[in-house]
């Protein structure tokens, strides 16, 4: 099997499997760095250069968008990376004259380290650890339903009207704990009850089933931080 065919099969696997996508991106990290360096004129450093993060995102976007009929994958990825970096540099020009907190200010410290932090660092760290724990539990809970956050993200409504409809269904479930209980017990989304109760069409709910499962799970007990973050969520159509 030629190298190009191996890449194509890897890309098609990565489209469906996020772990395979991560492995594929790590495998081609040098290629991504080379394309970034070609644009920026310097070797990017992982974890410090935003351009490298943007290039990696562009590479991942290319994986998801790739089709055999579009030609060689690496050529397409190189173009996508370059276009993304051009867009990013144009957007960043608005911030020219400002200095990133991550810029090195000395041998072992960054600009951010020189700025006095008024926040309670200990409390912030505790909050972050709590959030990590809660999110970890939430991810495990989703796994019980055969879902990952990446799946939920892909299934998330893009249009405001659809999002409002889904939020309407979620609001109905929040006001009717029996719906949430049914979800937990049967591990199936009670589509009929949600559709009848919220007035949202069953078809819309069915189309965003994974997303709705995640949102309704967040409303069950034990996910205070996630629910707290969703404080601005509003009920949609009723």
């Amino acid at each position: 099997m030629s190298e190009e065919h191996v890449i194509v099969s890897q890309v098609y696997r990565a489209k469906k499997d996020s772990e395979a996508a991560d492995a594929f991106i790590r495998q081609y990290l040098n290629f991504i760095k080379a394309e970034t360096a070609r644009f920026t004129g310097r070797v990017p450093v992982e974890g410090r250069d935003d351009e490298l993060s943007v290039a990696m995102l562009a590479f991942y976007e290319t994986i998801l968008a790739y089709d055999r009929s579009r030609g060689a994958f690496l050529g397409l990825a190189a173009v996508a990376i370059r276009n993304r970096l051009i867009d990013f540099s144009r957007a960043e020009k608005r911030h020219s004259g400002t200095v990133s907190c991550d810029e090195p200010a000395g041998e072992n410290f960054t600009v951010g380290d020189t700025i006095p932090d008024r926040r309670d660092a200990v409390s912030a760290l505790a909050d972050r650890i709590s959030a990590q724990k809660e999110i970890g539990e939430f991810i495990l809970r989703l796994a019980d339903f055969g879902l990952t956050l990446a799946d939920v993200s892909d299934n998330c409504p893009r249009q405001a009207r659809t999002m409002a409809a889904c939020m309407g269904a979620a609001a109905f479930a929040r006001e009717n704990p029996a719906v949430l209980e049914e979800l937990e017990q049967t591990k199936k989304l009670p589509l009929n009850r949600l559709a009848e109760g919220s007035g949202v069409s069953r078809k819309t709910l069915e189309r965003h089933r994974k997303y709705l499962v995640a949102v309704l799970l967040a409303y069950t007990n034990g996910y205070e931080i996630i629910r707290g973050h969703l404080r601005q969520m509003k009920g949609g159509t009723r």
């Binding site: 996020s18 991560d22 995102l57 991942y60 976007e61 956050l149 993200s153 409504p157 973050h229 969703l230």
Partner: protein
């Protein structure tokens, strides 16, 4: 807007926005549980191309081919009809729908001689007809008072009729100063034959009915009493004669058949040949 980082991957992070949306963004060194702002969302992957988009190119190519075939190739290069021109030279022209001469064939020796040195393939049908008439006239095949017979054949009766009329006019141009009769016959088409009379450069085309009407007018005006009416009478008389002749011949053959059958029924031997000869003489004389 603030985003809660839910999951991180090498190339992207999954974040939860305050409106309840989960989205993938660039991972600028995020860690799970971080609250971040100013994220760079991932572009939505395009869905599968709609069927019409996939088919657009082949369909456009097919449409172009159809256009070329039906718009250019078929009208100009596919045989649509034939014209057989019989003077004494016998020539068969194969024409496209647009009147382009696709091939010219001499059906007899004179026809081949007439076409020799005359490149007509690819030329206009009317120009070709005029040129052939000129050549026939110049080479002595067509004399004053001569007759030309055109046999036009096509599946399209309207096209054939129009072609016949146009050809007769064009041919007339090739024999100026001579009186020529051009009769046009349409193969495979029911209906009257067209008759064209050319006299001193003035020609008229008649259907058979028109011709009868014309002759009737001439008779009413005291003009010549000849023409198709006589031909009609002649046809009737001839038809009757042939009918009678057919009947009598039929009877004779029937009788002859019976006689021969009898002979064969009775048994055949060499001596019977004489009696058969006698019987045949009786029947036909």
């Amino acid at each position: 807007m603030e985003y809660l980082v839910m999951e991180t991957h090498p190339a992207y992070a999954v974040v939860l926005d305050e409106a309840g949306g989960l989205l993938k963004t660039a991972n600028f060194g995020y860690a799970v549980g971080d609250i971040v702002t100013g994220v760079l969302p991932m572009k939505a992957a395009p869905g599968p191309a709609p069927v019409w988009k996939k088919l657009a190119l082949p369909m456009a190519a097919a449409a172009c081919l159809c256009l070329l075939y039906f718009g250019a190739y078929r009208p100009n290069f596919v045989p649509y009809g034939t014209v057989r021109m019989t003077i004494n030279p016998d020539v068969l022209l194969t024409l496209s729908r647009t009147g382009r001469v696709l091939s010219a064939e001499g059906l007899n020796g004179d026809g081949k001689a007439l076409l020799q040195g005359c490149a007509v393939s690819g030329k206009n049908d009317l120009d070709t007809a005029e040129a052939l008439m000129q050549r026939a006239s110049g080479q002595g095949y067509l004399k004053d008072g001569g007759t030309v017979k055109l046999d036009v054949a096509s599946a399209n009766a309207d096209w054939a009729e129009k072609l016949g009329r146009n050809l007769s006019e064009a041919m007339d141009g090739g024999v100026k100063g001579k009186t020529v009769t051009i009769s046009i016959d349409y193969d495979g088409i029911d209906g009257p034959e067209l008759i064209l009379f050319t006299q001193n450069g003035v020609h008229r085309v008649y259907t058979y009915d028109e011709w009868l009407l014309q002759q009737q007018k001439i008779r009413q005006g005291g003009a010549a009493q000849s023409g198709p009416q006589d031909a009609e009478q002649w046809g009737e008389e001839t038809g009757d004669a042939f009918e009678n002749w057919g009947e009598s011949v039929g009877d004779r053959y029937e009788r002859w058949g019976e006689s021969v059958g009898d002979i064969f029924d009775d048994g055949f031997n060499a001596g019977d040949l004489n009696s058969l000869d006698e019987k045949l003489k009786e029947l036909f004389h």
